[in-house]
Subunit: 211 residues, 2 copies
């Protein structure tokens, strides 16, 4: 869609390289993409893009810059609305979770995720990935407002569904489906079926890419 807009504005087919993974339904607030040739003005791109996609800035990059290859880390946030009633304000933006939630348990799990681990348990069995180690430099739960908890995770790269399965499994720990030791064991390269559910995409947002 952005490639189509670029082609319309720049007048030639334009191949985009995108820094961070966003599955269908996942949001992105700080996506970065690069293409060859001269930049198109953000205003022109926004004039032809659908309303749910906006270019915040479009600037020249150093020669050879590649948004994906040159990225050092990606930062994602997963939002959970933890209360009985849903919220119209959080519809499509946070997972509505009315089950048991123990912030101390969530924080213990999140602390275990930090560091280098084999995340095989946290990506679908059918996968194109060949390397399952990831280096997580930040992993914590923070308060995101009244009744909202947010999981912030930053890593070198992510596998498909990785954040969503991490969140789904941590919520499963709160629901008593696994204890913290079991969660820790998953990080040693256990198979996918030992981890928990894949949390829905709409709670997830790519917040930033760092270079």
């Amino acid at each position: 869609m952005l490639e189509e807009a670029l082609e319309r504005v720049r007048g030639e087919p334009t191949r985009l390289t995108v820094a961070g993974r966003t599955d269908t339904g996942v949001h992105a607030r700080g996506q970065v993409a690069s293409h060859a040739g001269s930049p198109a003005p953000a205003r022109s791109l926004n004039g032809v893009l659908p309303r749910d996609v906006r270019v915040v800035a479009s600037d020249p990059a150093p020669d050879g810059f590649d948004a994906r290859r040159d990225a050092r880390t990606r930062l994602y946030r997963y939002r959970v609305l933890a209360r009985a009633a849903a919220s119209p304000f959080e519809h499509g933006r946070a997972l509505h979770w009315s089950g048991p939630l123990d912030r101390a348990l969530l924080e213990r799990c999140a602390a275990l995720v930090a560091g280098s681990h084999d995340f095989t348990a946290f990506t679908p069995t059918q996968t194109d990935h060949v390397r399952f180690e990831r280096d997580v430099v930040r992993s914590e739960w923070l308060k995101g407002g009244p009744d909202v908890l947010e999981y912030w995770i930053e890593a070198d790269t992510f596998m498909r569904h990785m954040v969503r399965i991490l969140v789904g499994t941590m919520l499963g720990v709160c629901a008593g489906r696994m204890d913290v030791d079991g969660f820790a064991a998953l990080l040693t390269g256990r198979p996918r079926e030992e981890a928990g559910d894949t949390a829905p995409p709409h709670g997830l947002c790519l917040e930033a890419v760092r270079y």
Copy 2:
């Protein structure tokens, strides 16, 4: 709509008294309402309400409690996204303002609003109000996130469009249509036509009602 839900759940016509004004298009995160008789469970009400309205809690109140009459103050927030590009995340939640914005000017105007003033300039000429003095206990601009400024205002009661005209007029000061002295003069009971535009409703939210 909430009265219809109450009637369906409680099995009898139920008249609601609502604490805070929300014109069409204005949001409410902390609305309070009261009715006679016993409370209906929030879960039941939410089962029949449309998705954009949710009851967070439904509890018994002291005898004679009236959500409107007993409220001491109402707190509103108006959100402004101040940057060139719109944001899909702020669509319908913040006024997109790509014009000049001077936070110091906004703060000077907001400080003038605090206190007791005649707000005739800040409500439509055609009005049912008979008293135009309001007692503003809080009036300030705060940062609400990257590129977002928020105007927080708390007062005993509000007139129709009052917050929206205040915001529109303050933005007009930033755009050079009026200086701060002119803004100050408006607070002495000047006529509506001397104030600025009515900012659109979608940036406004009733945040809380205090008792």
